[in-house]
């Protein structure tokens, strides 16, 4: 067992729920409200030094009763030790948890993916948008168990909605603002990035008119 478990219990007490070891990996369940505090401590505390956030993901189990779990996969480069933290979120609740982007910047896209696929909102995330699906996608969160495998809409409705959108909606605001500042790219490309071919990024699918 990873000795960080005892250190976590000594430091955070009740906020650390149960733990177990499976196939050599240590799983620690922690309070969802304390996730930021605990992960920050694990990174900064001498003797812990989990400086690398390998992955953030989530799990929803087949049975309806178990809550959703947000999984944090940590690794300490100085100590060569992995650690897996899980935080439970009740399905009926808000599905909100603190973002850890300010601790590991690499959590940015990982948390966006969890938001995209599970609908879990990360408080204080700097740019919480869908990352795999397009931003105007409104069929729900594909990896939730109540999401039908083929999507909620009929195939023709899916095609109709997607053809209504324009490809420029896939540019992020950042990419467009790069176009504003960067003088080395060709003028027409900068203009296109600034406007999109049909205007600005639409707020919703209904405003996304096809060119």
């Amino acid at each position: 067992m990873n000795q960080s478990v005892d250190a976590l219990r000594a430091r955070f007490g009740e906020a650390i729920q149960d733990h177990h070891v499976s196939c050599g990996d240590t799983y620690v369940y922690v309070d969802a409200d304390k996730v930021y505090e605990i992960l920050n401590w694990l990174k900064e505390e001498p003797g812990q030094e989990y400086d690398y956030l390998v992955d953030v993901t989530a799990v929803e189990y087949r049975d309806p009763e178990p809550p959703l779990e947000v999984v944090y996969e940590l690794f300490s480069h100085p100590r060569k030790v992995p650690l897996r933290l899980k935080a439970k979120l009740e399905k009926e609740g808000d599905l909100e948890i603190d973002s850890v982007v300010s601790i590991w910047h690499g959590a940015d896209w990982l948390e966006r993916e969890v938001f995209d696929m599970f609908g879990i909102k990360f408080r204080n995330h700097p740019d919480l948008r869908r990352i795999l699906m397009w931003e105007t996608y409104d069929e729900g969160y594909p990896l939730r168990k109540d999401f039908p495998l083929r999507g909620r809409f009929s195939r023709s409705e899916q095609v109709r909605r997607v053809l209504k959108g324009n490809p420029e909606t896939n540019y992020s605001v950042e990419e467009i603002s790069i176009a504003k500042d960067n003088t080395s790219i060709p003028d027409d490309m900068r203009q296109r990035l600034l406007r999109g071919e049909s205007g600005n990024i639409p707020d919703s699918a209904s405003e996304a008119d096809r060119v």
């Binding site: 699906m133 397009w134 069929e139 594909p142 168990k145 109540d146 999401f147 039908p148 495998l149 083929r150 999507g151 009929s154 195939r155 023709s156 409705e157 899916q158 095609v159 109709r160 997607v162 053809l163 209504k164 959108g165 324009n166 490809p167 896939n170 096809r210 060119v211």
Partner: protein, 205 residues
Amino acid sequence: MGLDNMDSGSSDIVSSVSPNWLTTKLDFLVNWGRSNSLWPMPFGTACCAIEFMATAASRYDIARFGMERMSFSPRQADVLLCAGRLPYKLAPVIRRIYDQMPQPKWVISMGACASSGGIFDTYSMVQGIDTIVPVDVYVPGCPPRPEGLLYGILMLHKKIRGETLADASLRDEKELDDSGLIMPASLMDELAEPFGNSIHQTRSE
């Protein structure tokens, strides 16, 4: 024979057969030219694109069919070759590429995924690119071998040789209709229905 002699010699040959002319059908000539210089717009999204690259490389060599000039700009392309699965996120992209291609233009759907969605009967995948753009030739396979793609290309040649300039409707742009689709919604739903093994994948319905 030196280079000096070449000039006088070749002009002799030319003068002996000039003026050059031949009689043929205009359709035959135009279709011969079109079918033997199809410039592909490669839209490769998955493993089919690897087979397409193999087809383009020296062993299979699509230069034999006048296709070695890949047109990475749709505006200089004749045939859109969708090699691989098409997610919904790319659907407006391939539609715009198709719209940007000038007539005459054709579309080859390469592989199971481009033709029908293949094994990806899911929320994110277009169930056949013929729901987005009109398709001329479907090449089955997962992925098709280069021979399969070449067979499809030769079928497209055959189709082109059967066309006629008299029928202007062949060159009509197949634009999206008022409903925003290229076919009636009911037909599209029918085309995109699960088939084969995937009808059993209804766990989350």
